[in-house]
């Protein structure tokens, strides 16, 4: 067990590598109750979110999919990332936002100031009464139906990256592993019952360790490691989440981003020699200059060490670079993330 933003959380229940494989091949579950859901209501909800977030929430209604989800960064005035989050549109004036545990208090304070500053008709309700479980893997959906038959009829048709609330359980077809599955949110008092029902359906408990290697293989950024308040999303491989199409949408941080074009890019690294493990903060030497690993580890799917690295803009995928690992220079190949999606190796 480790302390994670004030929550006691298991790194692994048994073998972390086994938990990782179970999610890629079958179905595993993560207790993600440390993450915080925030409900947003009010006639200005959409217009306010257009100012708050770097991605454009008008994409949600435009998608035509009910309960559609959007991944976005929330930026400070200087363009640094205050947090990355998922926002679900539940109806025109009602959204649910899920933020990271370690940043939740900071996020709420920022959002409340932002609401007041814009005199927006929006109410923000932190839902600390909810627990959340992510069920992930190619068999996650069928095993969830088996465990929770009451949600099957309503949620079976749920499109990827969207959510609905058929009863007590909020069901989102989202995740942080690169596999299909659900993130379920429900009143905390039901947590043990739901966990045991999933366990009974053969869903394996998985810890923070597997969650980290799964998201790393999926090329997904981790707040506090791959980006933070001091880093622009344009330098953190998150330019795809910054929506500049509407020139009139003056979201917080936009002017800073426009004044400071990217200086770095994020590429994946695959260690070529079987002589160590890439870790965060290791130095990367390329023909175009030096860079740094932001997340690294051992990939159980590739059976090699992989990493996400912030590198000079002139680097391209397919180059051989050197990484300083415990005083030695080891060769690695640059690749375009993700490394793995839907159980398949992509690099």
């Amino acid at each position: 067990m480790v302390d994670f933003a004030g929550w006691q959380m298991p790194v692994n229940y048994g073998s972390q590598i086994q938990e990782h494989h179970t999610v890629r091949r079958d179905a595993g579950m993560f207790d993600i109750s440390h993450m915080l859901a925030l409900d947003l209501d009010g006639s200005d909800a959409t217009s306010w979110l257009k100012k708050l977030l770097a991605n454009d929430v008008t994409r949600l209604a435009a998608s035509g999919v009910a309960g559609k989800a959007l991944y976005s960064c929330m930026l400070g005035h200087e363009g640094g990332v205050i947090d990355d989050l998922i926002v679900y549109q539940l109806d025109s004036d009602h959204y649910r936002i899920v933020v990271n545990a370690g940043t939740a208090d900071k996020d709420i304070a920022w959002m409340r100031r932002h609401i007041a500053h814009n005199t927006a008709n929006v109410s923000l309700s932190p839902r600390r009464d909810l627990a959340m479980i992510a069920v992930q893997g190619p068999r996650a959906r069928e095993k969830t139906w088996q465990a929770l038959p009451e949600i099957e009829a309503a949620a079976a048709a749920l499109a990827p990256f969207s959510a609905m609330q058929p009863g007590d359980i909020f069901v989102a077809r989202t995740g942080y592993t690169g596999e299909d599955g659900f993130e379920l949110a429900f009143p905390a008092r039901q947590a043990a019952t739901i966990w045991h029902a999933l366990l009974g359906a053969g869903v394996a408990p998985c810890g923070l360790g597997a969650r980290d290697t799964l998201r790393l293989e999926a090329g997904m950024a981790l707040y506090g490691q791959d980006m933070d308040d001091s880093v622009s999303p344009l330098d953190a491989g998150l330019a795809w989440t910054v929506d500049l199409r509407n020139p009139a949408r003056a979201f917080t941080g936009r002017s800073a981003l426009e004044a400071h074009p990217p200086t770095r890019q994020v590429l994946g690294l695959v260690l070529l020699e079987d002589k160590g493990v890439l870790r965060a903060h290791m130095k990367v030497v390329t023909a175009a200059g030096t860079g740094e690993i932001t997340s690294g580890g051992f990939s159980p799917t590739l059976e090699k060490s992989i990493a996400l690295a912030r590198l000079p803009l002139a680097c391209t995928a397919g180059e051989t670079v050197e990484v300083e690992v415990r005083g030695k220079h080891l060769a690695a190949r640059t690749v375009k993330p993700p490394f793995v999606r839907g159980g398949k190796i992509l690099v």
Partner: protein
């Protein structure tokens, strides 16, 4: 609860040490150490012939969580290392006391008496997990 065989000696840095009939000592990491490290994915073992001081970092174990140095429990000369384990480092997780890392010829065998016995090691890990 980790397994701590009574017949072995231990270091506070979680190595186990076994005195062999030929006067060499065999060194590995304890069950408690492998459990704390998690799945082990890479090993770097010392070359034979290397002369080391007690407490010198001589090997590296990388797990899914972190890289950890392994220390020489006694001064002496490295005479062998377990190359088969380098190709299958998960063996350390499977049986930490069968998965030896290296053998060392102690400069002074009487120094073995300075190491922890099973009870003392058991107490040292109980203290650290109570922190």
């Amino acid at each position: 609860m980790s397994h701590v065989p009574a017949e072995l000696k231990y270091t506070a840095s979680h190595e186990w040490v076994r005195l062999e009939a030929d006067g060499l000592v065999t060194v590995g990491i304890t069950d408690h150490a492998q459990e704390t490290l998690g799945d082990i994915v890479f090993l770097e073992l010392p070359a034979s012939g290397r002369v080391v001081e007690a407490g010198a970092a001589v090997a590296v174990i990388e797990s899914v969580k972190a890289a950890s140095d392994i220390y020489a429990p006694l001064a002496g000369e490295i005479v062998d290392s377990n190359q088969a384990l380098v190709d299958a480092p998960e063996g350390v997780n499977r049986d930490a006391y069968a998965a030896w890392l290296f053998k060392l010829r102690p400069a002074d065998s009487s120094a073995l008496a300075t190491l922890l016995d099973a009870t003392a090691y058991q107490n040292s890990i109980a203290d650290s997990s109570a922190e």
